[in-house]
Amino acid sequence: MKLGLLIDLDTCVGCHACATACKEWNASSSVSGPLSDYQPFGAEPSGVWLNRVRHYEVGDYPASKTINFPMSCLHCADADCVSVCPTGASYKRADGIVLVDQDKCMGCNLCAWACPYGARELDEASGTMKKCTLCVDRIYDELLPPEDRQPACVLACPTHARMFGDFDDPESEVSRVTAERGGFGLLPELGYAPVNRYLPPREPKALPGVDDARALLERGLASLASPAIRR
């Protein structure tokens, strides 16, 4: 199994709801919580987040586009963060989820150094490394209705830009959509084989150009004028 997230850069509006929902769920999770905040009401509020949304501008006007880019752990198949961990706190499960055993971590930061994506953050209060758990305490919880057994970020997304599923199964929805829309993994050059996939923006339907507008205007004028002419 390769559980992971599929993130649609076409529909993501950069609202940070996924990041906030992630923070809310995981702060009280027994797997990763608490997610400490430093000076939450002070002058320089900061803290641990397992999912961060950055915003990029690609290209120059008029051919420019804003890309909202959510990033959390990509649950790499070849996760160096796991192999460099000296204590065995970082581990990869059979379902593909990479986790940190909070009881074993000694806070050496080496896993964060080994991660090219910035997916791991040290919690200064607990002294341990925190990362996306793919809401492992939601997705297998049989007390939840089946539709709620998904990561908090996926459920919170107002534009349905996030999907959760098994990338190992070619019939799964995430695999199908990835194949249909050219989903890609981040920085394949580095050889981490990240599982999460991103969907590039769709080619939009052509907007009416200047010539189209003139034709439209002429047709409109003609239709307005025609009754007068007929009279």
Binding site: S46, E57, C105, N109, L110
Partner: protein, 320 residues
């Protein structure tokens, strides 16, 4: 990368201690006596003190030192785990060696302990270097120059410390001065090679760009264009984060050059000149060793401050 002082001190101090230990063990193995009998036990103690000070400093780097004992768990894949195991083996075995040496017993037991200690010291130096050299997100470190420099710089600084003892306890150690000079030149070559490699890599084909990081080649771009430049528009946070603290260390080129100069002059030029023409007095040797270690602290600080982690792309660096 953020140059954490605890790690900078650790690698320099334990590097010198391990280099010293390896050189002492090798000298002990040599059939011709190269050191006066007073030097060997004192040298071993000094080396262990340096290594212990370094390791203590490295523990300060941990956010949760109470779990440090668990670090023997991933011997098969983690260089840090290997370093921890070798460090734990070093002290009891080095104490045993110290006892054997102190009681003056020659013979197989002493030779075997000397070989074991020398191999352990080399192993530890290699482990420390490989922790860095094995990290894919930091390309400057991923080169054979990294372990070469760590091994040679450890022996070079160890040799300078050894000279202090050798001069203090036994008069003119000609051969040690030559050996130290040879190590110094080799270490300098390794460090220059590392810097050259870093500069060449920065211009080379393996450079990663912000566009690659966010998938512009895979279609994350405006409609109708095939090539587009990307810029960070908003990092999404208003204050520092763990990632900006740890990875977004910006070093002005001016400061980098000044530090490189200091590392070269203090760490190599002054000690090498002294080796060729300086007064053979233990106080002079001590002053030179201290200056060289200060130079290596600057060199090690730069090793971290100069290294650029891939995650900087996501924070707006155009290339890394």
């Amino acid at each position: 990368m953020k140059p954490a002082l605890s790690i900078v001190f650790f690698t320099v101090a334990s590097g010198a201690g391990l280099g010293l230990l390896a050189l002492l063990a090798l000298a002990d193995l040599c059939p011709v006596p190269l050191l006066s009998p007073a030097v060997l036990p004192r040298g071993i103690v000094l080396a262990l003190l340096l290594v212990a000070a370094g390791l203590a400093s490295s523990v300060l780097h941990l956010a949760k030192p109470s779990n440090a004992w668990r670090s023997f768990a991933r011997l098969r894949t983690s260089w840090l785990s290997r370093e921890a195991v070798l460090a734990a083996l070093l002290f009891p075995l080095a104490f045993f060696y110290l006892l054997v040496v102190s009681f003056g017993a020659a013979g197989v037991r002493r030779a075997v302990s000397a070989i074991v200690i020398c191999l352990l010291a080399w192993g530890l130096l290699l482990c420390t270097a490989m922790i860095y050299a094995s990290l894919k997100p930091i390309r400057q470190w991923r080169t054979a120059w990294t372990p070469a420099a760590y091994l040679l710089l450890g022996h070079w600084s160890g040799a300078l410390v050894l000279l202090v003892l050798a001069i203090g306890y036994g008069g003119e150690p000609r051969i040690w001065a030559w050996l130290a000079a040879a190590l110094g030149v080799a270490a300098l070559v390794a460090k220059l090679g590392y810097w050259r490699h870093g500069a060449a890599d920065r211009r080379g084909k393996s450079v990663l760009t912000l566009e690659q990081a966010i998938g512009v080649p895979q279609g994350v771009r405006p409609p109708g264009v095939s090539v587009a430049q990307a810029r960070l528009f908003d990092a999404g946070h208003t204050q520092r984060t763990f990632l900006t603290d740890e990875f977004i260390f910006r070093l002005a080129r001016r400061h980098a050059q000044a530090l490189r100069g200091a590392a070269l002059v203090l760490g190599f030029v002054i000690p090498l000149i002294w080796l060729v023409a300086g007064p053979r007095h233990w106080a002079a040797a001590l002053a030179v060793a201290v200056l060289a270690l200060a130079g290596l602290l600057a060199e090690r600080w730069l090793f971290f401050a100069d290294a650029r982690h891939t995650v900087r792309l996501y924070h707006g660096d155009a290339r890394t």
